[in-house]
């Protein structure tokens, strides 16, 4: 078994004083693909933002370990440089900052080295081709005026360029049409295959998972991890929904009815 990449230990998280996550334990090893499922409002995205160091997410107790190091208090940019990546559910728009200037600055800060524009542009073009993104997008302002699907593709474009150790995809497949889902899946597969990158896929649908091998599935209900399983659990949930998990959680007293 390969080494632990990301580990949470009894993580309790609150947002604006409201307790959201309860004693979350999770371990993701190098190159593994995990899926986090659960009904709306279960706290799945909260976990994603907490792992990335979102400013509104307060860790009340517990730890986050990345390759054995405690990153619970690290700022987001440090976590990113340490190999974490979060694909936002709603990527932010930055008027006046072109996509290519943003990507190049980010790459330079991640490596601490200057990147020649021609070298950068070669990489960028190759990654854009995977996602069928028109090269003209590179000079447009970051996410400004992009459709929902385009924004998600830009997230995956960053995934391909930054080559993180662990990518958290927060509802990356939601709001996408069939073609866009296929392209996003292609991008994610390229990341898995070329960079041996690990994934934590937060979703409540299964479309993005169809072409991916899943190592482990987690089910979250009202901020509690209530079940873990292998890849087949995705199909099972797909068929039967979350009801049995919610009932079980209530029965076991983990969740209020």
């Amino acid at each position: 078994m390969s080494a632990s990449l990301l580990k949470t230990e009894q993580l309790n998280v609150s947002v604006e004083g409201k307790h959201i996550l309860y004693d979350v334990d999770m371990t993701i090893r190098e190159g593994e693909t995990h899926v986090l499922m659960g009904p709306n409002g279960a706290g799945k995205s909260t976990l994603g933002y907490t792992l990335m160091g979102g400013p509104r997410y307060h860790v009340d107790s517990g730890r986050i370990l990345l390759e054995g190091r405690d990153i619970t208090e690290s700022p987001a940019d440090q976590r990113a440089r340490d190999g974490l990546f979060l694909s936002f559910q709603e990527p932010l728009e930055v008027p006046g900052l072109s996509l290519q200037d943003f990507l190049r600055s980010a790459l330079e800060q991640r490596t601490g080295k200057r990147l020649r524009f021609t070298d950068f542009y070669k990489k960028l073009k190759a990654a854009m081709e995977v996602l069928h993104l028109d090269p003209s997008y590179s000079v447009r302002d970051l996410n400004v005026g992009f459709s929902g699907g385009e924004k998600k593709k830009i997230e995956i474009l960053q995934l391909l360029l930054f080559q993180p150790k662990l990518a958290i995809l927060d509802e990356t497949d939601s709001g996408l049409d069939v073609d866009a889902v296929r392209l996003v899946s292609d991008g994610v597969r390229a990341y898995q295959k070329d960079h041996k990158g690990a994934l934590l896929i937060i979703t409540h649908s299964t479309r993005i998972l169809e072409s991916l091998h899943v190592d482990q599935t987690h089910v979250m209900v009202e901020g509690h991890m209530v079940a873990d399983g292998d890849g087949s659990m995705v199909d099972e949930i797909n068929e039967n929904g979350y009801e049995s998990y919610v009932e079980r959680a209530i029965r076991e007293g983990a969740v209020r009815s």
Partner: protein, 468 residues
Amino acid sequence: MREKSQVEEVGRSLYDFRKEEKDAYRVGAGLTPAIVEQISREKKDPPWMTLFRLQSLQIYDSMSMPDWGPSIEGLDMDHIVTYVRPNTKMSAKWSEVPEDIKDTFERLGIPQAERKSLAGVGAQYDSELVYHNLQEEVAAQGVIYTDLESAMHGPYAKMIQSHFMKLVPPSDHKFAALHGAVWSGGSFVYVPPHVSVTIPLQSYFRLNAPGAGQFEHTLIIVDEGADLHFIEGCSAPKYNVANLHAGCVELFVGKNAHLRYSTIENWSKNMYNLNTKRALVEEGGTMEWVSGSFGSHVSYLYPMTILKGRKARMEFTGITFAGKGQDLDTGAKVVHSAPETSSYINTKSISKDGGASTFRSSLVIQEGAEHSKAAVSCQSLMLDDISRSDTIPAMDIRTGDADVGHEARIGRISDDAVFYLMSRGISEEDARAMIVSGFADNVSKELPLEYAVEMNNLIRLEMKGSIG
């Protein structure tokens, strides 16, 4: 708690340096008719100009200080040396410019600009034009670009007399009167009919002596169907004595002519910048202003455009960045006095560390200016809770069919956007700087590349240490 980087003070060392004074000549500190006459003699003014200066001084004495806008109580005119002449004569060759002055210019990047084959560089050191160069091909087109003093004695003497301070009369306000009395240095540009100057003309102004005011006068006449881009770049070293800048810019845009006037002002943080700029646009002419205000302690700056002829138009793009201890009152004015004229004022302002930025605009559409169009848009970005941003738009519309739009927005940097950029490995300081630069992007896009780079550098410099 999370560790955050903190930088004590903005590193302005690149811009804050000064040379030991070696002034050949200096007038007394106060302002009297004798001093004005002395200046006039030294400048070898024609008689009309001596008279003009003395009349201006009378007007200055009779007018009161402005009772609106940011406080200028820190100004003590009795202790401002109004005129300092550096130890050098007009020079057309770089090799003849004294070393210490050259050093200052080099740090300002003038030779680089020169190498980039810009049309002409007139650089002002203290109150005198010391270095002047106009590319031969531009001169061959009949374009005049020279210092105003010598032009008053040349073939354009009459033209100067009939235009000088006609747009900004000394009676306009107290500091216009002061300017009329003690003005010194500056540029004169004349572009003959139907001549297109394809490369921008540039001029650098710089204050160096403690307590010295700078009163340069820029007079530009773009004749019928001609085209010019003029760039004025300013920066000044930092001093503890209050400094005053009361320059004056008068722009005449002829029939179907086009003038773009770009400025980046980066005065040191003790400067009182009370500058007056005005343009008169004839039929079918176009005036474009691009204005970046970064430095100074206090600024009053509202470039004004008078759309005199039918279908005259103007566009103003401006940005103001007010940091700690700065009170920058900037904006634009426009008067539509002919039919089918149009104007567009688009400004951005940024305030941080307790800085105050006020946008003031005045839009007048006079009777008879039918079918005129005007739009005013201002956006403000406040980087913290202790800074101020105000918007004071005034409109006076005297026609029934004017098409007028106004938009004002005040915002903050979104924490989510900062987190988004940080989650990509960008430091918090850089993330904020990128968002602010993006906010200013529509202004930098209007500037020639090297100025856009300088403006972005200034923004980065100003953003340093903004994370507490």
